[in-house]
Amino acid sequence: MVFLEIKRLRKRFGTLEVLKGIDLSLEKGGFLVLIGPSGCGKSTLLGTIAGLESISAGEIRIEGQQINDLHPSKRDIAMVFQSYALYPNMTVAENMAFGMEMRGVPKAEREKAVAEVAKTLQLEHLLKRRPSQLSGGQRQRVAMGRALVRKPRVFLFDEPLSNLDAKLRVDMRVEIKRLHQRTGATIVYVTHDQIEAMTLATQIAVLKDGELQEPRDRRETAPAGGAAGCPHQRLRSGRYQVSN
């Protein structure tokens, strides 16, 4: 069953067309990784799903419901930002509960939900601290906790690991994958790191110049669009014949 569906989505900034007709679909519990060179429009695409960017044409549906014109808070999505975007003036617990507070959830219920997620992510001892008193990895976990606590239909990750050092990045990658398997969440994940894409995704979409290269099975994605490869690969089109 298609859970998240994007049809003929276009995004223009003035005369510049950034997304040129994107078609995508993701099953419930799927893990879609958007990968591509910088400036290809992958973060913009994520922004349109979140509702932070308006779209010029096309439609976005979650569970069949069209969400194009809904306010970000009404789309039932949660986003983890590259910079984590934790509110510096609030404690970890307040950060996680802020969304519920804005939606008028009673305090007791908020505290219960925060405690539950904090346990899952082993954040319990950090709840009273402020973001400035946390390490990079801890901030990352709090940002994920803030997303989890909302129990959204879709999680959006915008290059969540690119501010971490190499070792932590691997650890967090494992943690994200585990989280995905345990909660069965539906995730859209933007990165420019192929290894992240390969290890995390159930489905990979390669974006280049605002166009989608055919979404493929992950075993054959690497050369798609010439956008990937380490070191960078040059592709040539050619033909070969098998002669008798």
Partner: protein, 315 residues
């Protein structure tokens, strides 16, 4: 062996003696210039503590023989100000407080709101609007006096009509309210500039996160932006407080008699042309007039430099 030779004493001793000389020169200069700045204040304080015959008959730099606060008390509650009936500067001091507190609060808050909109809720033409607000910073006081007088005259007429109709003026035509309006309008360019530059460097992702969390325009402003704006709020408050408190031109033009702010009253006290000039009372009044700005600097000054530097360097 060579290590011992290298760390042998002579070159190092030379360096230390050199640094001692440098220190002496640096501190000497600092103390010298600090003294130059402090002399007027010291003379003011000493003069205010002397009786009048000691001031007129003695040396300006002589210490008071029997320090007393008599002239401070006179300045505060008894001295005659110009042709007004009110005695002392206490009433005018309160006038200034009543003007400066709302003017600072309103202009700071509006500046913050402007800065928020100009950086995080951009609209077509936001650059032009900001450019024009910036332009407001370069308009001299003198050139707005006549237009301002016309507007305040209009507000005064509205006030009179309101009094005729309802018996209450709702603040229209009240000199203090007028001065608050002048200073808010005039200060808006500066406060907007401060906050816009601060919020320009403020991470937009925080605003986006709050949007996803369901906070509306004012909730984002109040819960996310303002609590993280302490350095620039302090800069703006100090700047506005000093400017508005020290303003003489608006105060002397748009308020008269008992309604005048402190600066005007001080002028009327000092420039009186009848009787003996009571230098000790004048000095005491001048110190009282300068005290609030001094107080604000002492309390919040260390945030001032920090706030001015904020956003200049990332991190």
């Amino acid at each position: 062996m060579s290590a011992v030779d290298l760390s042998a004493v002579p070159p190092r001793r030379m360096r230390t003696s050199q640094s001692v000389i440098t220190r002496v020169v640096i501190y000497g200069l600092l103390i010298f210039f600090a003294m130059i700045y402090l002399v007027p204040l010291i003379v003011m304080v000493m003069t205010s503590l002397k009786p009048l015959d000691e001031v007129t008959g003695g040396n300006m730099f002589a210490l008071p023989k029997s320090p007393s606060f008599a002239s401070w008390i006179r300045a505060w509650g008894e001295a005659s100000i110009g042709v007004s009936d009110t005695a002392g500067i206490s009433g005018y001091f309160m006038n200034s407080i009543k003007m400066v507190v709302p003017a600072v609060l309103i202009s700071t808050l509006l500046g913050a709101l402007n800065g928020y909109v100009l950086t995080k809720w951009r609209f077509p033409g936001h650059k032009l609007v900001f450019g024009m607000m910036l332009f407001a910073c370069f308009i001299p006081f003198q050139s707005v006096i006549i237009p301002m007088a016309v507007i305040l005259g209009l507000l005064g007429r509205i006030g009179n009509q309101l009094i005729d109709a309802t018996g209450v003026s709702f603040g229209f035509g009240n000199p203090t309210v007028n001065l608050v309006l002048c200073h808010v309008v005039y200060g808006l360019g500066f406060t907007t500039l401060f906050f816009r530059n601060y919020y320009e460097a403020f991470p937009t992702e925080l605003v986006k996160a709050a949007m996803i969390d369901g906070a509306d325009f004012f909730q984002i402003f109040r819960r996310v932006l303002l609590p993280n704006s302490m350095p620039i709020i302090i800069v703006t408050v100090i700047y506005q407080f000093t400017n508005i408190w020290n303003d003489f031109l608006f105060g002397s033009t748009f308020a008269a008699g008992d309604q005048s702010p402190m600066t005007v009253a001080l002028n009327n006290l000092v420039n009186t042309s009848t009787g003996v000039v009571e230098y000790n009372v004048n000095m005491a009044a001048a110190i009282i007039a300068a005290a609030p700005t001094l107080f604000v600097y002492v309390v919040a000054g260390r945030y001032f430099v920090r706030g001015l530097m904020a956003g200049a360097v990332k991190g």
